[in-house]
Symmetry: C2
Subunit: 221 residues, 2 copies
């Protein structure tokens, strides 16, 4: 089946020295275009959803879009079904995925994006949950979701906020590269696209384009 998907998967919400979503605002506007009037925001990755929605609303309004936060909706599933575009923000990926499961949102978001072709924007944790699984998140497992399987909007995993090994470091914890290689020691594990901060992936149908200036690394099993 041909999929109409149109995704913007951003490594990080804020780039050092810049404002919230500033480094990707042109790409957001290009993705949403002039047809989309309202964006549905999913703030589940942070604890304070009201504050988070305020920040996101301010930014999207400045770009010319109204923003509804799903946590203010009486029926979250219904709000997804009626949405014109979805933005899932960063924070803790485990908390985000658990809330998506708790609210039965995974199949309906998937349907809207894959079958109906509404634009999806993810940043950081919102990018992680767009992939096959959150097995390659950097986040602390502060809660236990019923599965690590995620939306599966793309057939690979992503590691956002990718950091190259620091040769001068005296810290003995595993580097990001070592962690991803440990993932690939496990059987049947998918490719991992490691997006450095400042970088993002635009997915249109079966075509993926790397945007931003910091580039990415692709890890294969």
């Amino acid at each position: 089946m041909m999929t109409l998907r149109r995704l913007l998967l951003v490594s990080n919400s804020t780039l050092h020295g810049g404002g919230y979503l500033e480094h990707c605002q042109d790409q957001i506007q290009q993705l949403l275009g002039e047809q989309v009037k309202r964006v549905l925001f999913i703030p589940y990755a942070l604890h304070n959803r009201d504050d988070y929605a305020k920040i996101a609303r301010q930014k999207f309004e400045s770009l010319g879009y109204a923003l509804d936060s799903i946590h203010e909706a009486a029926d979250p599933v219904d709000s997804v079904l009626k949405s014109e575009a979805i933005f899932i923000g960063g924070g803790n990926t485990f908390r985000l995925l658990k809330a998506l499961y708790d609210n039965n949102l995974l199949p309906v978001i998937r349907k809207k994006v894959i079958e109906d072709g509404i634009p999806y924007i993810g940043s950081s944790a919102g990018t992680n949950v767009a992939t096959i699984s959150i097995n390659t998140t950097n986040d602390m497992p502060i809660v236990y979701p019923p599965s690590l399987q995620a939306l599966g909007l793309v057939p690979f995993n992503i590691n956002p906020h990718f950091l190259d090994p620091d040769v001068n470091s005296k810290h003995m914890g595993e580097t990001r590269e070592q962690r991803i290689m440990q993932f690939h020691e496990e059987p049947d594990t998918p490719p991992v696209l490691a997006l450095r901060e400042g970088c993002m992936l635009l997915v249109e149908g079966s075509k993926a384009t790397l945007l931003g200036i910091t580039k990415a690394r692709l890890f294969l099993r």
Copy 2:
């Protein structure tokens, strides 16, 4: 019930510039003393268990102890039941905890340590699994254990390899401090002892002593 537990919970196996377990070898010898002749090693946190057991065996033999690796035992549960002391090494905490569950080892290790009072040494991932849960590991969730609940040998959580915030960093991922605070945004979460590299906790019965020179931070909800 009084517990006889005797634990050495080490932040990291290797300190920058030193050899494997070198920075904690005196404390290991003091914990094991002269009564213990053989140590049972659990290498599940790394993929290559043979290589890992070789490294651990070499170190423990140099300290005067024989080492049996549980992955070479016909019956892992039986090898725990017959053990004089247990050492769980570092690596990936999710992989380690899943293997402990897969081999039904949690209750039997707990019984040996808490009721029979055999010495337990953990480093990094082996320290994480000694606590209430692995909710405060730094590791990537490369596999999905049936629960994040761990051995519960102490009534709190630990964050090993603790790193203080780097004020000069341009990286926008959460600091370790922010991640632990996100954990404490969740209800009913226990204290987290953040052990900097080079530091370790000696637990004897109800008394805990911080050893090493780098100190620790205690985070309360």
